[in-house]
């Protein structure tokens, strides 16, 4: 067990900047991987975790090069090998499971061929044996009908299936070490939990060592024996998983764990100030100095060494870690949200809304006939109160973003009405909407890189809504812009900056400021924190809450991250295949989930705690279309009754906690079923 399989020694990787300066993105990294062990490498974007993982296969991305150090695999330095030698090791001794299998599988080659390729390269099996091996591998990763799967193209599989194929491909060469680069990022919650379970099983079954790279401490917690925490290209903390997650003795890890929203906690997580320094701008002192609340003068000028603490079996890079050891346990404090909901003061009503993506056929268009195909989103009824944050949750394809688009007027509804303040009906056609209504409903998008014009300065970005809606000019305009920036906690000097000069969190703040510039009544938030790092996410969530408390705005918040939703929302609506399953006050939905789908969804959430295991209640099948008849969840429901679920749309029933669900089983009975 203690045999070391690969050791990284004093590795630095960097690139030459345009000014000819050498900039390192990985600095003096030293770590060992033992046989049979799973090591989690965790860090936020830009921390160098992927660069480290790829270097451990002897692969350095174009433009980068190793400045010093070595990666020793079985007493040979991978970084000194030529491509011939590396081909013998890659796939055979060390195999990789990539982040996005959909893009990592070659589109023009069948699944079977791609696995066969690995077998041909790394085993001596003949054609027949290889064919058997392929079905055996596909079976092992639990893919349905392995015989026909081999003849399919990557794009014909769902995201979870593609990821399983990538796992099968990696296992083909029977590697000693598996490298997983964010293997579950981008998958749905339930799929993610299933893939992780598979990986855990494989590690145990084959005794393979694994390096699991992720930004998601929840996933890391489920698989790792040991955790390496990276920050700004350095290892800042390394030790046994349980210790790192429960008693972190580095202030960054401490702050990171505190900034993750958790299912068991109400209220917003603590945020960490600032953001990770960019490569090249790292000073002589500790790279975490500017964000650290334990920092002293010593930290400013001296960079701490990675220090091994024998009694804890942990290495830490901090001068003041003793202070954290004294604090001992990680206690989770949250910031309580002020209740701003004005009951019975509706700002938005959705009545029987249905939306379809089906295109009208030519003749139907002539006859002004609406397509009778089963709509993507159906029978949505929502009353939204002023000052409320209502969250729409569900996996991809649940129709949550579709509903947002319709409220914004970007997508026409097929049936039903959207009513605004004073019962006024909003046209589903954007062109027919009153300009004032357009102002009153604003959108914040997922990715600020795409929603902010890269050629506009922050000032220009914020000028547009102010000019368009309020005709502001001159000093007044400038004053308003500065006010807005202050509201999102950005200084005046940001006005002349371009989006590319801002960090991810700062960009999203500008996007928030732009939405608030219109003085809207309702803001539609479409996965606004999904593209952000955890420590920055908490800050943006806190900012949104603060703005709402000050200005009385209403949020419709779409997210796939159930813990984030718990932290920010007053009410939650759970959607499956474009149909509502359960709706109720967040507290109650999370504490007493009633609908089988809510139960499945919440059970699959990964908590950053090795003692909380996900509960996998239903299979992670992907359904492409909502069923024509009956309950939307009939295909995957673990509590399906039978024919009635296939034929009749379940009725609404309201439980004692105020949760309304759509199910054929009595709500109290569902409670009992969950306890069995």
């Amino acid at each position: 067990m203690n045999e070391i399989i690969e050791s990284v020694k004093n590795l630095s990787i960097g690139f030459n900047s345009q000014t000819g300066k050498q900039i390192s993105i990985l600095r003096n990294v030293t770590t060992n991987i033992k046989k049979g062990e799973t090591v989690g490498i965790v860090g936020e974007s830009g921390s160098g975790k992927s660069t480290l993982a790829l270097a451990m296969m002897g692969y350095i991305k174009q433009g980068l090069f190793a400045l010093e150090g070595e990666c020793i695999f079985k007493s040979e330095d991978l970084l000194k090998m030529n491509s011939r030698q590396l081909e013998k090791i890659r796939g055979r001794k060390i195999a990789m499971i990539p982040q996005n299998a959909g893009q990592a599988l070659t589109p023009n080659l069948k699944i079977g061929y791609q696995i066969d390729e690995a077998l041909k390269l790394h085993t001596d099996l003949n054609k027949n044996e290889r064919d058997n091996k392929i079905s055996e591998l596909l079976n092992k990763v639990r893919l349905p009908s392995p015989e026909t799967m081999a003849f399919r193209y990557p794009h014909e599989l769902s995201g979870g299936q593609q990821q399983r194929v990538a796992v099968a491909m990696a296992l083909a060469g029977k590697p000693d070490l598996l490298l997983l680069d964010e293997p579950t990022t981008g998958l749905d919650v339930t799929t993610q939990a299933h893939v992780l379970e598979l990986l855990r099983f494989i590690a145990k079954d084959t005794g393979t060592s694994m390096i699991y790279v992720s930004h998601d401490l929840g996933a890391i917690a489920q698989v790792s024996d040991r955790i390496v925490v990276m920050y700004a290209g350095e290892i800042v903390l390394e030790g046994p998983a349980r210790k790192i997650l429960k008693e972190p003795i580095h202030p960054y890890t401490f702050g990171l764990l505190k900034s993750i929203p958790k299912l068991s906690l109400t209220g917003l997580p603590d945020s960490m100030p600032g953001s990770q320094p960019q490569p090249g701008s790292i000073s002589d002192g500790c790279s975490f100095y500017e964000r650290c609340n334990l920092a002293s003068d010593k930290c400013k000028n001296n960079s701490p060494e990675l220090e091994y603490l024998n009694n804890l079996d942990t290495s830490v890079r901090c001068f003041n870690h003793k202070d954290l050891i004294q604090e001992n346990k990680l206690h989770h404090s949250t910031i309580t949200r002020k209740d701003t909901v004005q009951k019975n003061n509706n700002v938005l009503n959705l009545k029987d809304v249905s939306i379809t993506y089906a295109k009208q056929k030519f003749f139907d268009q002539l006859l002004n006939k609406i397509s009778d195909e089963n709509p993507t989103v159906k029978d949505i009824n929502l009353d939204i109160n002023k000052g409320e944050t209502i969250a729409l949750v569900g996996e991809s394809g649940s129709g949550k973003s579709t509903i947002l688009k319709s409220i914004a007027g970007l997508l026409k509804t097929k049936d039903g009405q959207i009513k605004f303040i004073n019962e006024r009906i909003l046209s589903s056609d954007l062109k027919l909407r009153d300009p004032n209504d357009l102002r009153a409903i604003q959108l914040i998008f997922q990715n600020p890189d795409e929603s902010l014009n890269p050629n506009h300065t922050v000032e220009q970005i914020l000028t547009q809504p102010l000019k368009l809606y309020f005709n502001l000019t001159g000093n007044e305009l400038k004053k308003n812009i500065i006010d807005l920036l202050k509201k999102v906690r950005l200084g005046e000097f940001y006005m002349s900056r371009y989006p590319r000069q801002l960090s991810g969190g700062e960009k999203q703040r500008v996007a928030v400021a732009r939405a608030f510039a219109a003085k809207p009544d309702i803001i539609l938030c479409d996965e606004v924190t999904s593209a952000l790092d955890v420590s920055v996410q908490a800050a943006v969530l806190n900012l949104l809450q603060k703005l709402k408390e000050d200005l009385g705005t209403t949020y419709i918040f779409v997210s796939h991250d159930l813990a984030v939703v718990r932290a920010i929302s007053d009410r939650v609506a759970v959607l499956y295949q474009g149909r509502l399953c359960e709706i109720g006050p967040s507290q109650n939905v999370y504490n007493y989930p009633s609908h089988p789908y809510t139960e499945v969804l919440l059970g699959a959430v990964l908590e950053p705690d090795p003692d909380i295991k996900p509960k996998l209640v239903a299979e992670d099948i992907v359904e492409e279309k909502p069923p024509e008849k009956g309950c939307s969840f009939q295909g995957r429901c673990p509590r399906k009754l039978g024919d009635i679920c296939n034929k009749e749309v379940p009725p609404w029933q309201i439980g004692e906690n105020g949760n309304a669900i759509r199910c054929h089983i009595k709500i109290n009975e569902l409670k009992n079923l969950q306890n069995v």
């Binding site: 796939g91 055979r92 990789m96 990592a104 690995a118 790394h122």
Partner: protein, 318 residues
Amino acid sequence: MLLLILKRIGLGLITLFIVSLITFVGVEVLPGDACTTYLEREAYGPALDACIKRLGLDIPSYQRYLDWAANVVRGDFGYSLSGEMPINEVLGPRVKNSLVLASVSILIGIPLAIVLGIITALWRDKLPDIIISTITIFSMTIPEFISATLLILIVAIWLGWLPGIVIIPSDATFYELLSNIILPVVAISMIMTAHMARMVRSSVIQVMASDYVQMAILKGVPYWKMVFRHVLPNALLPAINVVALTIAWLLGGVVVTEVVFNYPGLGRLVIESISNRDLPVVQALAIILASIYVGINLIADLMTLMLNPRLKSLQIKK
């Protein structure tokens, strides 16, 4: 799939119909008609009347369009004015000559372009790329009449290796043509190859940077196997459409080169018949060139569909 092919063919026919209508109307609204332009100063009195009668210009124009269109469908383009011979006989050898020039250029130019594009992409920013890219950009920017003239000057006049201009009758045999077309082919290939090589280069570079290529490397696939299995099939798919446009351009659009080398192809026929005001021939050429473009693009689209598994199953699903 079959439905899709039929649909695309239908759309192509509609395009051709519109082209024919536009050329016909265009000729109609021009001041004067075929007789006045043909007879020039003698366009008066009985000569004009006779001409009008002979060409049937006294029939209402829609009637004439229908007759003409019906004949075209049957493959009969009518009579040319200047030579007073059937247009089919005028066109026949020209089409053949253009086909010879185009196919020789294609056989040399396209493989060369693909190979150069791949070399420049795989050795990106290294010496082979720098040399080849400089040359291709250079030959792309020089207008063809200059490069063609320079070729004549150097190869034909100074060195005297090859005939400078083509002085063979338009109905010469394939072998007679071959020695004459070397210079035109070189001139055309310079531009064509350069354009396509740049396209292939950027396409290959894009695919080389993709996740699946990185995955193939990390799977231990040897370099050249990776290039041929994982890179090229995906990188060359978008090239099919460019190749199609190039072929269409070669058949009818290399006017300048044909004129400089005095090559009796379709391009030069366009110029000649326009300057001769031989309107029936112009009409016929418009239809033929449009058919070539429509046909070749149709083939290219269908090929892309067949070769790209992603599009193929999308179509089948529908």
